[in-house]
């Protein structure tokens, strides 16, 4: 131990983000005052980002099990779901919000890199990526800079890495002006018996660091993600990592090859908090220690300090523990791929991590005490209902006049060209969606992404994974408990409408500062709502990520945004259902109950300018019944298209079904509803289907029988023009132009 060094004080601890009581706790754990290196270790491992200290108590209340779960939340780098035939799907979502706010290109790129490593470190080959993005007012120059940077970052990294991006969402609201949200999702497939674990054991087993060299980039990134964004944040630019997708691609191939040898004891990617995080988490889980010589870590710069090497978040690195005697087998594989592979230490008895540099022991810390589920602190924060919550509930429908006559066309045009509704083509065409020859939605647009499991060893294999990311944060803001239920329900609905059985959830909980009681109230209620809905749909939460401190001094907290990533299984290819109207003369039916409700709709918010209203009408049991009914219709092959009613309401749903094939529709509104509510309201649990006239009788028999599902015939598919109550609201060509090109025009 370097006793010449001045030992840190509680003041130093504070500067590193450690609370005085945490500093005391560290002294007790070590039985002495930590040196600066050790204190730095605790500061990152006990940061919000690594320890989930302000969220874990609530996260544990979420449903985590079903008979398909092979790894429960927190057990591995990502969730693992049994899909039959000896295969498992590993999937996860993760945020890179704070880096993207400062350096959108690298922030988003490394977010994509990080989430893919979480998947392939388990031995799973990634098959698809999705992303969920939130930006501020799209008219602001800063927002455009962020959008372009983030999209290019995701594209350049994901495209080179070579895994298709098959879905996602983009939403704009001024609450995200300072704090954009960048959530990246990845899913992979692994043979169930070949899953690699993030564990370390076996005294004498060598510890390798593989992949890129370690540099000074991203030092303290985990701590940086654990505080509010301020003007000073731009001084933290070195805390943003730099990505190299080429290196990641090589690392993917080499990693899968070494796992295939069977000689790997444990492996974990290096994400937040770098070497210290991987060594401590793997050791704590395996109940062993490690001796690590930091001089052996390949570095990009000379004279890096011990704590810099330990905390560096340089990308495209893995920590691997290998069976003793198999060192050469592993090295050969990394040589083949021209990657660094350096033995930096070995597994030892006891639970401590001993780090040496220049022959001296510079840190000696117990692994268990550093990690979540071990000694890392867990807090129950104070929470308080914010004043706006009750205010929003006072919204009176009668204070808004209904639309009539030509105004319907005006609202239609407003919505179809609104960046939250219009096609995100300008964004997703910058992502490679067809690499992998597995995307089954390229030529069949649908509510969720669908990727077939393609394996040269299993030619013509039939099963596909459907996946979606969803969260209407405006609803969650209006009512976190209901809004989070809707996010889960919408994700499940998107899968069901595509013909899939929902299986499991990964969540990305994006919130403001947890020390603000009103923000924490949003968090607590959202988690509870999410738990309730996940239980109902039998979709356990397999893991995910919490991102607090999405808050700035100017703009306050972002909308509470608990993004739901959900996967589902399509066993029979013929059940995959697309959203586009196919043939002129097909009947258009609305399945589900309409409501006199415009609360929190895009129409109310941006057309009428009313920002204070509750979440839209929603009943969890009704939603569940609706999804059962849709599933029945698909199983019985009674519907030619299925598309759920979501943002923008029924009219937008009809438009989105008509546009892919350039057709039109002729529909009538129903008696007893305001026109705006019927056409543009966003009350939940409604789905638009098209039915061939010769299937009408059977269709009605199925819904009218035991299911007793509310449904109505709205009209029929036509050759062109969007007609409501006998009036053409907009031509198909104009609608297509507005819908397809509005976002691109806004960004140019």
């Amino acid at each position: 131990m370097e006793h010449v060094e001045q030992l840190p004080t509680v003041e130093t601890a504070k500067k590193l983000g450690i609370l005085p009581e945490e500093f005391e706790q560290i002294k007790q754990i070590l039985g002495r005052t930590p040196n600066f290196t050790e204190l730095s270790i605790f500061s990152v491992m006990w940061s919000e980002h690594c320890s989930y200290k302000n969220s874990i108590v609530w996260l544990k209340t979420l449903p985590r099990d079903s008979d398909r779960m092979l790894a429960k939340a927190g057990e591995e780098n990502a969730g693992l779901v049994d899909i039959g035939d000896g295969l498992a799907c590993s999937f996860k979502i993760e945020s890179h919000n704070h880096p993207s706010a400062l350096e959108p290109y690298q922030g988003a790129a490394t977010g994509v890199g990080g989430i893919n490593r979480d998947i392939f470190t388990m031995g799973a080959r990634p098959i698809a990526q999705l992303n969920s993005l939130r930006f501020g007012d799209p008219k602001l120059a800063k927002t455009k800079w962020l959008v372009k940077g983030v999209v290019k970052g995701i594209g350049d990294y994901g495209n080179a890495f070579g895994i298709p991006t098959v879905g996602g969402e983009v939403f704009f609201d001024e609450c995200y002006n300072t704090n954009p949200l960048v959530n990246a999702f990845s899913a992979g497939i692994v043979e169930a018996g070949k899953v690699a674990k993030a564990i370390s054991y076996g005294v004498g087993n060598p510890v390798f660091i593989v992949g890129s060299a370690t540099g000074k980039d991203g030092i303290g990134g985990a701590s940086f993600a654990s505080e509010d964004i301020s003007e000073k944040s731009t001084e933290k630019l070195p805390a943003v990592q730099v990505g190299d997708p080429f290196m990641e691609k090589l690392l993917l191939e080499a990693t899968l090859e070494i796992i295939e040898t069977g000689y790997v004891v444990g492996i974990q990617d290096m994400g937040a908090a770098g070497i210290i995080c991987s060594t401590s988490e793997m050791s704590a889980k395996g109940e062993h220690g490690m001796i690590i010589d930091l001089d052996k870590v390949p570095t990009r710069q000379t004279n890096m300090k011990g704590w810099e090497i330990l905390l560096s978040e340089s990308q495209e690195r893995m920590l691997v523990v290998v069976e003793k005697g198999k060192e050469d087998d592993i090295k050969q594989i990394f040589d083949k791929w021209d990657l660094h592979c350096a033995q930096i230490g070995e597994v030892v008895e006891g639970g401590s991590l001993h780090f040496f540099q220049h022959g001296e022991l510079i840190a000696d810390v117990p692994a268990h005490d550093l990690v979540l589920g071990g000694g890392a602190p867990q807090y129950r924060r104070e929470y308080r209902e914010p004043a706006y919550y009750q205010e929003f509930k006072k919204f009176d429908l009668n204070s808004v006049s209904d639309v009539k006559g030509e105004e319907i066309g005006k609202v239609a045009k407003h919505l179809l060209s609104h960046p939250n509704i219009a096609s995100k083509k300008w964004v997703y065409e910058q992502y490679d969606s067809t690499v992998g020859t597995a995307n089954r939605t390229t030529n069949r647009p649908s509510d969720a992404g669908v990727v077939r499991i393609r394996d040269v060893k299993r030619p013509h294999y039939q099963k596909s994974i459907a996946m979606t990311v969803d969260c209407n944060a405006r609803y969650v803001n209006a009512d976190p408990f209901i809004g989070a239920q809707i996010a889960v329900a919408e994700a499940a609905r998107n899968l069901v409408c595509t013909g899939a059985e929902p299986l499991a959830v990964t969540n990305n909980l994006n919130f403001g500062n947890p020390y603000v009681p009103e923000v924490y109230w949003q968090f607590v209620n959202a988690v509870q709502g999410m738990g309730k809905a996940c239980l109902k749909f039998n979709t356990p939460v397999t893991g995910g990520n919490v991102s607090f401190y999405n808050q700035s001094s100017d703009d306050g907290p972002v909308f509470p945004t608990p993004t739901i990533g959900m996967i589902g299984l399509i066993e029979k290819p013929e059940n995959q259902t697309s959203l586009d109207f196919k043939n002129e003369g097909d009947l258009i039916c609305l399945v589900g109950q309409s409501q006199n409700d415009i609360a929190s709709s895009e129409y109310l918010y941006s057309y009428r300018g009313v920002k204070a209203s509750p979440a839209p009408a929603f009943d969890l049991d009704e939603e569940y019944s609706l999804q059962v009914a849709i599933n029945q219709l698909i199983e019985k092959q009674l519907v030619k298209s299925v598309h759920d009613v979501s943002d923008g309401g029924l009219f937008v749903t009809l438009a989105e079904s008509a546009l892919p094939n350039g057709v039109g529709f002729d529909v009538a509104t129903m008696e007893g509803y305001r026109k705006d509510a019927f056409l543009f309201g966003e009350s939940q649990s409604r789905v638009v289907v098209s039915v061939s006239p010769d299937k009408q009788a059977e269709f009605q028999k199925v819904l009218g029988g035991e299911l007793k599902t509310v449904h109505a015939l709205l009209g029929k598919v036509t050759s062109g023009g969007f007609v409501v109550d006998g009036q053409e609201v907009i031509s198909t060509a104009e609608a297509k132009d507005l819908y397809d090109n509005s976002l691109g025009r806004l960004m140019s």
Binding site: G162, Y428, D432
Partner: protein, 228 residues
Amino acid sequence: MKFGVVVFPGSNCDDDTVYTLRVNLGQEVVKLWHKDHDLQGCDFVILPGGFSYGDYLRTGAIARFSPIMNEVIAHANRGGYVMGICNGFQIVAEAGLVPGVLLRNSSQRYICRNIYLNPQSKSTILTGGLDRSAYKIPIAHGDGRYFADEDTLKSLNDNDQVLFRYCDENGLITEAANPNGSLENIAGVTNAGKNVFGMMPHPERASDPALGNADGRFILEQLLAVTA
């Protein structure tokens, strides 16, 4: 016939190409590693899409100097068949096996979407037998704008060396149907010997009925007419 698919570090369509040739077209196919010096007796070499060596310098600029490329170039010079798709096209262009270069897309953005191809040359094995006016095939590239100087362009046209031009769904070659600003809507070309093919669009991504579009299979099946 035996196909070889070259794997450079950073190739990411190698497995797609292998799967398509083996499973969808029922062909014998092996992977050829970039460090190797042997084509393993392959009759037809395919350079797949991806970002070879990261493409940090210029697309295809490093790959052309890899050991396997010496063999590929020798194979081509002997009259052997070689096809470069996407990044593979960029590599054969860099290696001088086909005329012209691929520049940054005119939009300055990466583009991934379905486009339509109109087959042009009547004198190549790849396109001579294609009888439809429009084939729906995906593109996915940032640097796909075909360019050649006037003399080269003239000789390409005079010698029937243009394989495909971008067109609309009815086969009309229009400016609006050109996704990346390529000269004269050129999407693919062949060399004077008509044994080396380069094209930006990905027929292997549209060769399986499971994907809802098998137009690419018609194109790849033309290659099977070659007898070893």
